[in-house]
Amino acid sequence: MTIELERETAAELRAAAPVVHVPEIAAPLDRVRPWLWLVGWWALGRVVTIATAMAVKPSIWTLSLWDGKWYRMVARFGYLLVPSRQSDPAFFPLYPIVLRGANTIGIPYEFAGPLISNLALVGTLAVFYLLTRDLKGEDFARRATIYVAIFPFGYVFSMTYPESLVLGLIAGSALAARRGRWWVAGLLAAAAALARPEGLFVALPLLGIAWGRRRSLDPQARGAALGAILAPAAALLAYPAYLKNVIHDPHAWQQAQQGWGRHFHALGIVKAIEHLPNAIAYDHWLVRDVVAVVLYLALLAVAARAGLPRMWILAGVVVVILPPFSGAFDSISRFGLLVPAVFWGLAVLGRDKRVDWGIRVLSVGLLIGAVATLPYVFP
């Protein structure tokens, strides 16, 4: 009888206790906790980058150098082509639009670039992680994401450059496609192509995903998938259409590229290789980009051998191989940041714990060294 009474009292007490409030407090923390490792590695990469940049030259300008000047110029004054000279139509429009938007809400242009790029990288890392987890599982995804956060050339992710945003858009587009959200996939792919020409090649992984699911899609969904695949090309065409409207020259991008000595040609890669010794003698920093090409191709081969989707590998090869067709190797180290499969190749190598930590330590060391070169050479 006593026992029965005690049980009833305990039940009543439990019912009366304000236990419902505990989950309310704990839930948001529970949602954040699984992402803390990601935020931690993001913070490490950014602190290393920003601290080194400030140590080299104590000014935010260090992160707004080089192309940052051109993106700000487009955001402030719009596109202007000066024939026979380096001009701003060489720079795609989405990032300047975002800079202008930030300036509209009161953020000065000098700060807007580094602020947007650094913040965008958190989202990019999260989307990249989710996509990679879908493909290869938790451990692999964590390793790959960490490598993105501390990649030696990843100091660009903190600068007034669109790379951090574009990598996120590319990964987000593929993630949306894998989850059957083709309209979102198309929108993100179009945005990627409007921010960097490399964004065009997200069409290849999208094609791979759509092809793999072609039997399970009804005609309307298939049409949406086709639309998503065509979206980056459509957005890319919107750029010369806009240039035609504002500066009466749809070829302004190609003309501006020539101001930087870039001119796409079928034999451009032959010219680039032929002139390489002279180019390196004139500018020793070019060695960095040549090493990057070899490294990226090797990592893509590793990723391909590990069975990562072929369309991602193909897109990566195109992004790495295409720039030398313009007659120069310059900046390929930066262009490769937009190739998710490069980081997947690195994650394959990092399966062994010692190699993994070796890559992490080496990456942070090289990242510091790479940031220190910023005042002397463009990324």
Partner: protein
């Protein structure tokens, strides 16, 4: 006969797929254009005129001028070409040949003057602007145009209508030295954008010039180039 509905269904499915895909692509094309049109400003009229003038100058190689600095008037030709530098490398630059009073060469590094020629008591850049040197003027105008720092006015030169491009005062765009600023105005033909006159102030000194572009014939270029090696720092 039994296959007919299936075939029709397949054709219909393909048609729906293509229609949805194509209309989506067109929608993204329109959206991409609209985002740019709504999100970016259009360059100002003065910047666009400046870009055209700069483009014309940068495509040209030779100019003739009658310049007046500190009350002294002289004629000059300015050639943009490849020259041997002091470090034995080849570098592009501007060579001014004054009528009867020597030559100046700027192709990277310190400006070189013909041996025996009197060095100016003003900053040489003033001379390169007023000699109508196409590269120097072209780059200066392009720089101002890209920074939206050009004021455009209707004017006349020698009784003929002209456009005056007043370039905003900026840091010396070559040396990037703080405090070293220049101020330049250039008058151009409103139809062809060919330069007609230049006024410039560099440092404390100012001057003006009547300028025009000249066709760089091989014979003329050859006459101006020989022998550039005599130029010294």
């Amino acid at each position: 006969m039994r296959n007919r509905p299936d075939t029709l269904g397949i054709v219909k499915g393909v048609a729906v797929t293509l229609a949805v895909g194509a209309s989506t692509a067109v929608a993204f094309l329109g959206l991409g254009w609209a985002v740019q049109a709504a999100g970016l400003p259009a360059a100002s009229h003065s910047s666009r005129v400046g870009a055209n003038v700069a483009g014309l100058l940068l495509r040209s190689r030779l100019s003739a001028s009658t310049l007046t600095i500190e009350g002294k008037t002289q004629s000059a030709l300015c050639l943009h070409h490849w020259f041997l530098r002091a470090d034995r490398r080849i570098g592009r630059g501007s060579l001014i040949t004054f009528a009867g009073s020597g030559r100046w060469l700027d192709n990277g590094g310190p400006i070189r003057f013909e041996a025996g020629a009197q060095k100016p008591d003003f900053l040489p850049r003033l001379g390169f602007y007023l000699a109508g040197c196409t590269s120097d003027l072209g780059k200066r105008i392009a720089y101002a145009a890209q920074l939206n720092a050009i004021t455009l006015r209707q004017a006349t030169v020698g009784g003929k209508p002209a456009l005056e491009l007043r370039l905003g005062r900026v840091r010396d765009w070559v040396t990037r030295k703080k405090g070293l600023v220049d101020k330049v105005s250039i008058w151009v033909d409103p139809a062809t954008y060919e330069p007609l006159a230049v006024w410039a102030k560099v440092g404390k000194h100012s001057g003006y010039a009547r300028v025009h572009l000249v066709r760089a014939t091989p014979a003329l270029v050859h006459r101006l180039l020989v022998p550039v090696t005599r130029l010294v720092r």
